[in-house]
């Protein structure tokens, strides 16, 4: 009964979505304010209906209702409750429901925080989001229904994939989807602007906070995925350039470019058409990512052939969304205009270069991800594109982008002078070069890549320091604290996010340059030393978990004879699927991680063991978190709150800037 209610709620949600996607847009076109006012209640109603469906599926999982096919396929009676709930998004159908649920959350948010928007704009935005929702709901109801019954009911479920039975997996997909789907708001803003034919600085100011929030979620989501791979897969890697990862990374690159391009549109009225195109691109890649990962096409392109309806729907949907918006773009973008002119050597010019580089990087990832799929689909042979490809392409593309990241904030809008910039930055440059050359020697060994990485990281931090100092010198206020407080929060946000990138680069550089890995056979009582740490293996013991049995190893770690920690890596066998899983033991630290994972049992209680010493690896995720924090700080800036509080749509940017500096 409960699953049927969920199913029925989805059908109703589809009806509401159809209304929301048609009437308000039509109303905006003919100027009928009654039709436009349908958008808000429709969005909220749709949210309630999808929430109901979501809860129904959650209930089916909690109540172990194995007469629901999806529940039987992804959970088991012995699976703990929190993983049963997380199993809602453990596979294809439920992920789509989560997607729609999150879309409806964003819709409700838009309906609440858009009171300052012109009515036609709001109607169009919610209308476009409604149309996206129609696509997903149709998909679920026709070919991928999470509430489908299994008759007769299964005696017990097939269990959730053990890899997913992890706290990280509980939060990672919702985070990622908040990011993916969040770009639908930027997308809807862009489409609404194209439909309305007006695109000004105010438009950019409205879409900026939405885009930034989505980007923050996506940043955290991608970082969590990477962290999960690091500790759950048991071989110590944090990024494999695997198609699943690339699928989440591509929208991130597009979103990062979009944030920077929107800044120009907001402050200078430039890059208008480009911002719109990036918004379309970011959302299209989010859709592509969702489907790539969740349709099974990556496991085998022939998954499409075994379930042609599903594959066909996805292709048609992608074609309609991407093709449709590009056609609209080609038709309406000339009206939107390119925006104001600027000199090549200016902040706009540098942001443009940054955008081109990010998009080029995005293109190379797209090529490496999709090309093997195309070849395979056309039966032209099976190939794979190895991680070295991405590494070789990424470093040269990102190096100039990061170099510009240091200069950009110091450059003036419109036109700036290179010699003057060089004078202002000479100390930052000298300090970066000297430190980057010298530091690796003190750390042990010098390689060009380590130096390059450190150079870029130090460059970001030193240029940020120069920038901050100059701005403080020009700020009003008597005390240093007062002047610090006078800086707008969006500025602090930018600074923080950029420093996050620096931390990230330090992490990557140090891990790539200095990590030590050793695979070896260890007898009980034997010791091994890596990176100055001595690991003593004290054998394994059996124990029984809720739905698995495990061998747990004990390792005593010492450094120079002092006890550091005791580590307990595990080898688990999940009984339902008879699947073996490695649970690595990690001892995290500010400057290093120690990582131990069990390989296979050998004779006499000995095991093959994998030991790692990973310097600064946690800085990788720390850097990502700080980037996201920077984004949140930027969104909390006064100028956006002002826009929400007063219903003033068209405060010229200059007035607002003046206000900020005064306050």
């Amino acid at each position: 009964m409960i699953p049927e209610i969920g199913h029925y709620a989805l059908i109703l949600a589809l009806c509401v979505a159809v209304v929301q996607g048609s009437l308000p847009i039509y109303g905006a076109a003919v100027g009928n304010s009654m039709l436009m006012s349908v958008a808000k209640p429709a969005a909220r109603g749709q949210f309630l209906l999808v929430l109901l469906a979501f809860c129904c599926l959650g209930y089916a999982f909690a109540a172990k209702d194995f007469s629901v096919l999806y529940v039987a396929a992804t959970s088991n009676s012995q699976l703990p409750l929190h993983y049963r709930i997380a199993a809602i998004w453990g596979a294809h159908e439920g992920s789509l429901l989560l997607w729609v649920f999150i879309l409806s959350i964003w819709m409700v948010a838009v309906s609440f925080f858009s009171t300052h928007l012109p009515e036609a704009m709001r109607a169009r935005i919610l209308g476009v989001m409604g149309l996206v929702s129609v696509g997903f709901l149709l998909f679920m109801l026709t070919v991928s229904n999470p509430f489908e019954r299994l008759i007769p009911a299964a005696f017990d479920g097939r269990d959730l994939n053990p890899l997913l039975q992890d706290p990280g997996m509980v939060i990672h997909p919702p985070m990622l989807y908040m990011g993916y789907v969040g770009f639908s708001v930027a997308f809807s803003f862009a489409i609404a602007a194209l439909l309305g034919g007006t695109l000004d600085a105010a438009w950019a100011r409205w879409s900026r906070p939405w885009t930034t929030v989505a980007w923050c979620f996506l940043t955290v989501g991608v970082a969590m995925g990477s962290g999960w791979a690091y500790y759950e897969l048991g071989w110590g890697g944090w990024w494999f350039w695997d198609p699943v990862e690339n699928a989440s990374f591509m929208p991130w690159l597009a979103g990062t470019a979009l944030i920077h391009s929107l800044a120009v549109t907001d402050k200078r009225g430039g890059f208008k058409a480009w911002s719109v195109l990036l918004a379309i691109l970011a959302f299209s890649l989010s859709l592509l990512g969702t489907f790539l990962v969740r349709s099974g096409v990556l496991t085998s392109v022939h998954a499409f052939a075994t379930d042609p309806k599903r594959g066909l729907f996805i292709l048609v949907f992608l074609a309609v969304v991407i093709g449709g918006s590009l056609v609209l773009y080609a038709w309406r973008a000339p009206r939107v205009g390119l925006g104001g002119g600027f000199s090549l050597i200016s902040r706009e010019g540098m942001l443009l270069a940054n955008n081109v580089l990010l998009v080029a990087a995005l293109g190379s990832v797209l090529l490496g991800t999709l090309y093997p799929l195309f070849l395979d689909a056309l039966d032209l042979g099976k190939i794979s594109v190895g991680p070295p490809y991405f590494d070789t392409v990424f470093v040269p593309l990102m190096t100039p982008a990061i170099f510009l990241m240091g200069i950009g904030p110091l450059a003036q809008w419109k036109k700036t002078s290179l010699p003057e910039l060089a004078t202002r930055l000479r100390w930052a440059f000298a300090v970066s070069i000297v430190t980057a050359l010298a530091l690796p020697f003190t750390l042990g060994h010098w390689t060009p890549l380590v130096s390059l990485g450190l150079l870029l990281a130090i460059w970001i931090v030193t240029t940020a320091a120069v920038d901050l100092r100059e701005r403080l010198a020009h700020a009003d206020g008597s005390s240093l604290l007062g002047r610090l407080a006078a800086m707008p929060r969006s500025y602090w946000g930018m600074l923080l996010a950029h420093c996050g990138v620096a931390l990230f680069i330090v992490g990557v550089t140090m891990v790539k340059g200095f990590e030590v890995e050793q695979d070896l056979r260890m007898n009980v009582g034997q010791t091994a030393t890596i990176g100055g740490y001595t690991f003593q293996f004290d054998g394994t013991q059996q124990y029984k978990g809720p739905n698995y049995i495990a061998a747990r190893g004990t390792f005593h770690v010492t450094q120079d004879g002092r006890d550091v920690t005791v580590m307990y890596p595990e080898k688990r066998r999940y009984t339902v699927q008879n699947q073996t899983m490695t649970e690595a033991a990690i001892s995290p630290g500010f400057a290093r991680d120690l990582y131990v994972s069990l390989g296979e049992p050998l004779d006499d209680g000995a095991w093959s063991v994998r030991l790692y010493h990973k310097p600064f690896v946690d800085w990788i995720w720390g850097g990502c978190l700080i980037m996201a924090l920077g984004g949140i700080l930027a969104v909390s800036d006064r100028r956006y709150r002002l826009a929400w509080r007063h219903k003033e749509a068209d405060v010229p940017a200059a007035t607002q800037m003046a206000r900020q500096t005064v306050s």
Binding site: M169, A229, V244, V301, L344, S608
Partner: protein, 159 residues
């Protein structure tokens, strides 16, 4: 500079950047493509010499042996038509099992042994890696390897 000239410079720079990026990409692409071959193709000497590639198929039951160091393993990959002996030093992934699908990357040694640098098993228990499944299908193995174990729908790779 006049606006028109400026636009040309902009477009020109954009094109140069694109060309450089394309060159980098294609260059790296060329040297990092890893081709996939079946044991039959290996046996027929269709594989490139001195370049890494991937093979896939089934780990032959009872073929796994381990050397005294606990790390070096030998096993046979088969598509049920031809067999290729494989040597690998390292820790095998959790999903590696005799009688199950496997994909390995490495080079062919002089004696016809495949020296694997990496053994991949990024698939779940019931699911063959697509390359391995394709290799089996290609060798026209009888229906013994059908995916009857797939109860509902093939679970996609997590993440």
């Amino acid at each position: 500079m006049k606006p028109r000239q400026k636009r040309f410079v902009l477009i020109g720079l954009g094109l140069v950047a694109l060309a450089v990026a394309a060159m980098l990409v294609l260059n790296a692409f060329q040297s990092n493509l890893v081709f996939f071959f079946t044991p039959t193709q290996v046996a027929n000497a269709e594989v490139p010499k001195g370049r890494g590639f991937r093979i896939g198929g089934m780990v032959e039951a009872g073929s796994l042996t381990r050397e005294g160091d606990g790390l070096t393993v030998h096993f046979v990959v088969t598509d049920l038509a031809k067999r290729v002996p494989v040597t690998f030093k390292g820790i095998l992934p959790d999903l590696f099992k005799e009688g199950k699908g496997v994909v390995a990357q490495g080079q062919l040694g002089a004696d016809g042994t495949f020296l694997a640098s990496e053994v991949l098993a990024k698939h779940d228990e019931n699911y063959m890696p697509p390359e391995a499944a394709a290799a089996l299908a290609k060798a026209k193995a009888a229906g013994a390897q059908s995916s009857r174990t797939l109860v509902v729908n093939p679970r996609e790779e997590p993440r």
